[in-house]
Symmetry: C2
Subunit: 253 residues, 2 copies
Amino acid sequence: MSLTPPQLADIRCLAFDVFGTVVDWRSSVIREGESLGQARGLEVDWAAFADAWRAGYVPSMSRVRQGRLSWTSLDQLHRMTLDRILEDFGITGLSEADKANFNRVWHRLKPWPDAVGGMHRLRERFTLTTLSNGNMALLVNMAKQAGLPWDCVLSAELARHYKRDPEVYRMATRLLDLSPQQIMMVSAHQDDLNAAKDEGLRTVFVMRPLEFGPEARPDLTIDPSFDYVANDFHDLADQLLSRSEARQSLALS
Amino acid sequence: MSLTPPQLADIRCLAFDVFGTVVDWRSSVIREGESLGQARGLEVDWAAFADAWRAGYVPSMSRVRQGRLSWTSLDQLHRMTLDRILEDFGITGLSEADKANFNRVWHRLKPWPDAVGGMHRLRERFTLTTLSNGNMALLVNMAKQAGLPWDCVLSAELARHYKRDPEVYRMATRLLDLSPQQIMMVSAHQDDLNAAKDEGLRTVFVMRPLEFGPEARPDLTIDPSFDYVANDFHDLADQLLSRSEARQSLALS
């Protein structure tokens, strides 16, 4: 693990997975659910609701990936799942405006505490891009609200393929006009990193043990072939920047 | 001219033309040409060279727009024009590395003096995106070098159509999930604004009388149907932000 100095010097761009890696979707959805519940007098287990919403994520994208559903943006997939689980949870009486607004909670997710500061440090040396299944509008709105300092916003939408389809990673190298070894994928999801690695990208596994909540027991056994493993984005900056760069970047963050 | 208050309140995004509007391509190309000339002992009129390079821009894109050339990135079009005018100017003896590096001068163009400060002010209220014929890699690299604070980088490359084809403007509304009236095109080129207006976008004409050099006499007769006319990006911020926003934004810029 960890690249040799010439390999590291080659890295031009860090490409970030977003949901779970940069932002804490679960707490954000719970918090907005609770506000909505209070405003509309609903009694709901919002943690269970958030988990059910997220549980619809992979199956809904799989329908697109397998060609059973034509290209559908993540906003639309989120809405399809929302409509289904509102029914499952027996929630009635929400207006169309309530539902449309709640569906956009995914545009308002809050970053993990280290994310913005760590990104500012990493941005001194690398080009930072999203490489996310979120649609462009979602990612741009999220960045604006959360203050995420991207140099570039790239979405699966531009490839009309969802991760882990290889077309998504290839789209990034093509649009940034870089070779795969010049891009390092940063993700809390090992299958994402393995798919990136298959396309020749470098890899960083960021541990986000709380992504699925304090009760979850995620498998944090780490594939030894990842180039770096980091506890958070500051730890990643400490590992990737030279000592003098790291000192400077801390002063800036 | 100038939108009513409810129309202005609808605007969510400013979409900027880049070459000539945000950055001063001519001075930047002349400056790098002079450095290259000194390093390689070349006697060249670099202002004439810059003008010739830029003169190849519209005709080369026209070949793509008319289907006489399949999709070709602006980096590649710039290189095709460069190879031709090097010959026209009788310049020989440049290595492939020299030519590849000089071709990337378009990634290193310098902003007009008001651009970065004005953008920081406008960004407090609006989402700022490029809507440029430059390819994604060019625009991302330029932003990084020049410190241009984009929220989003959108290129004609994503539509595989060059402005003024309507597909480029439609791509922006689609990817940002906005209606055309929520986007205002900011450009120093009236044909760009007219094409944007045809797609329902709002329009700002920014006067850049020096784009083609101090000798040029550009036609600054202004189409009265543009929503705003601005002398530079600070003037635009003064017009678009309320008085209290304008004061705050000046303190930030």
